[in-house]
């Protein structure tokens, strides 16, 4: 087992720069907090980064891979958040129980929103999905006796005693979630067909149907998975923050996910992670809670960056960098480092 892992690492990770960077990056996320003392503010930002990375990847699975462009992804985030907060407030349950329940309710929300969404596509679907979190937001503010209205539900317990422990819990949950979503969307996988089918639905739904794929079932699955991981992210978020407020449902929350994904690279699992780690973490590290110029004008900088990215790197930063670093062998389709002269497996010339 260990030997196979080592062999895998030596022959399919080391020669490919993109994979090597991903492995080093995740290893660094796990190791650095153990070695270096990280101030509490930065620790908190990193914790939120992990949560939002999961949120962004779940949007990419639903909207990027399956092509169901959802502009109300905050619905699942907010449902997970409010569900686990309400369970704590009224029943006094602990985060260990309420977070999974919140995630399950968010999954059901995903399945329920899918039914009207099945009939629509393109801009119509985006408009429809944009409406759902706003409707829930209106209800949350209208019934303020139950939900706390604009102030939200305060005094939620943290998921662990120290900031570092919280970070590790969120990091592990995020890593597992991303691995699951990566495997589910892997079109070349021998074991799961979902990746291939998601791609087929995005490219041409009618052709997918004609090939005997029950597209409705797979769209439901995509909505459920998107809802599940966004719900987990939402529930974790409010427990780390301590407050479940209407900010989890606003339009900005939905669009942030889209912005991160488009920045990093749509239809790639690593793209959203890069997007969140660059845009969210960097802006907050440089901003330090609104004390510097960057901190006060985060939104402006973010929107200008998005406009520039859309104009000059429409495929996203991570994909752009990856295309510079890697090249596919024209004969055996194996990924090679861009600086190699011939393919590492079959020896075909790469130029």
């Amino acid at each position: 087992m260990l030997r196979r892992l080592l062999k895998n690492f030596r022959f399919s990770v080391l020669p490919v720069p993109g994979r090597l960077i991903a492995v080093i990056f995740f290893a660094a996320l796990f190791i650095i907090p153990l070695i270096l003392p990280i101030p509490p503010y930065h620790m908190l930002v990193l914790t939120f980064t992990c949560i939002f990375a999961m949120f962004a990847v779940s949007w990419d699975l639903l909207s990027g891979y399956t092509g169901q462009v959802n502009f109300g992804h905050a619905l699942f985030f907010g449902v997970g958040a409010y569900c686990s907060a309400l369970l704590h407030k009224y029943l006094g349950w602990q985060p260990g129980v309420t977070i999974p329940i919140g995630a399950i309710v968010a999954t059901f929300t995903g399945v329920v929103t899918c039914f009207p969404a099945l009939r629509l596509r393109g801009p119509y679907l985006s408009l429809l999905t944009m409406a759902f979190p706003l409707m829930l937001l209106g209800m949350v503010i209208a019934f303020k006796d139950i939900t706390g209205g604009e102030y939200g539900i305060m005094g939620l317990p943290p998921i662990a005693a120290t900031g570092t422990a919280q970070y590790y819990i969120c990091l592990i949950v995020m890593t597992v979630a991303v691995l699951i979503m990566w495997k589910l969307t892997d079109a070349g996988s021998k074991y799961v067909r979902t990746g291939l089918i998601f791609h087929a639905i995005r490219e041409d739904e009618i052709a997918a149907r004609a090939s005997g794929i029950n597209t409705i079932r797979y769209k439901l699955l995509a909505f459920a998975i998107g809802g599940l991981f966004a719900g987990i992210a939402g529930a974790l978020y409010v427990h780390v923050l301590g407050i479940a407020g209407p900010s989890t449902l606003v339009m900005t929350m939905s669009f942030q996910a889209v912005i991160w994904v488009a920045f990093g690279g749509i239809v790639s699992i690593y793209g959203p992670i890069v997007g969140v780690f660059i845009l969210y973490t960097l802006l907050h590290f440089l901003g330090i809670g609104g004390q510097t110029f960057i901190g006060r004008n985060q939104m402006l900088i973010m929107s200008i960056v998005v406009i520039l990215i859309l104009l000059f790197m429409p495929e996203g930063v991570a994909v752009w960098v990856r295309n510079k670093l890697e090249r596919e062998c024209p004969r055996c389709k194996l990924t090679n480092a861009a600086w190699r002269k011939e393919c590492r497996a079959c020896g075909a010339s790469l130029h």
């Binding site: 706003l134 488009a262 929107s303 200008i304 429409p314």
Partner: protein, 292 residues
């Protein structure tokens, strides 16, 4: 009776403003399939323009209106030419581009004027008694502007050569181009008209509504509801939808003063039902490739 009078005036006022915004939104969607989420941001910019020129610089109404209208329209044209036109083919890119643009405008206004609630000075003072209620003349002026602009838009679209080419491009861009219509130019002109409509709406509400950097989001939601209800791409549908939604919103606010948040919920629910039951809306045509 005074209650009904006030309800009618308020509905006409709100419906007119929503109608101006929604017809521009619908026009550019019907032409270029662009869902322009920055549409109401131009409305916000126009309101700020009026506030800045009239309150801060103390200009007269005529200069302020002219400069705001020209400035905002020019900005819309530049945004279309250099930003939107390049990503027009991809729906996610268009939505992102327009929302980023709207957020950028919002943040620039926040930097320039701060997060204060402002208002532009009224252009004409005084009250008139209609239907047993005294209506500020400013509101009547707004109603007048809306009516004139509506008639002008209708004349432009139905009676002029430009209107014919706009409608032809909306129906089928390829055939329109074969008939000798320059499609890119028509799209640019349509974007100019749409932005100018948003600017007129902003100019006419600047003295009536509060002006603040986030003032573009509540009308944006309403405009989307109206456009879906009236049928995406149908100008007539947008105006009728605007008055229906304005009536519903005002009825909810009049009878449930605390329920202004529920008004949005009901409006959005109406949009969801229309989208699911009849995606073409009341007057729209559904595009062939959107069908399932």
């Amino acid at each position: 009776m005074p209650l009904i009078g006030r309800l009618i005036i308020q509905t006409l006022l709100k419906g007119g403003v929503y109608g101006l915004l929604a017809s521009g939104f619908s026009l550019i969607f019907g032409m270029a399939h662009i869902i322009n989420l920055a549409h109401t941001a131009f409305f916000m910019l126009a309101a700020y323009g009026m506030f800045y020129f009239m309150r801060e610089l103390g200009w007269g109404a005529a200069q302020a209106i002219a400069l705001t209208l020209v400035g905002v329209t020019l900005l819309g044209l530049l945004a279309y030419r250099f930003l939107l036109d390049r990503v027009r083919q991809h729906i996610v890119a268009v939505l992102l581009m327009t929302i980023a643009l709207a957020l950028a405008f919002q943040e620039v206004m926040l930097l320039a004027f701060g997060a204060h609630f402002q208002s532009a000075p009224t252009i004409i003072a005084g009250f008139t008694r209609i239907l047993g209620v005294s209506v500020p003349n400013q509101q009547l002026l707004t109603l007048g502007i809306v009516a004139v602009v509506m008639v002008m838009l209708w004349l432009l679209l139905t009676k002029t050569k430009l209107g014919v080419s706009i409608r032809a491009t909306a129906q089928d861009a390829e055939i329109a181009s074969l008939m000798g219509i320059s499609v890119p130019r028509t799209l640019l002109i349509t974007m100019g008209i749409a932005t100018a409509l948003a600017a007129v709406a902003g100019i006419s509400v600047a003295p009536l509504w509060t002006v603040y950097p986030e003032m573009w989001t509540p009308p944006l939601v309403m405009v989307m509801v109206i456009v879906v209800l009236g049928g995406l791409g149908s100008t007539k549908g947008s105006f009728i939808g605007a008055f229906i939604i304005a009536l519903v919103e005002n009825l909810v606010i009049f009878f449930m003063p605390s329920g202004s948040y529920l008004a949005t919920v009901f409006a959005l629910l109406a949009m969801v039902i229309v989208l699911v039951v009849r995606p073409a809306g009341l007057f729209g045509t559904i595009f062939e490739e959107e069908k399932l």
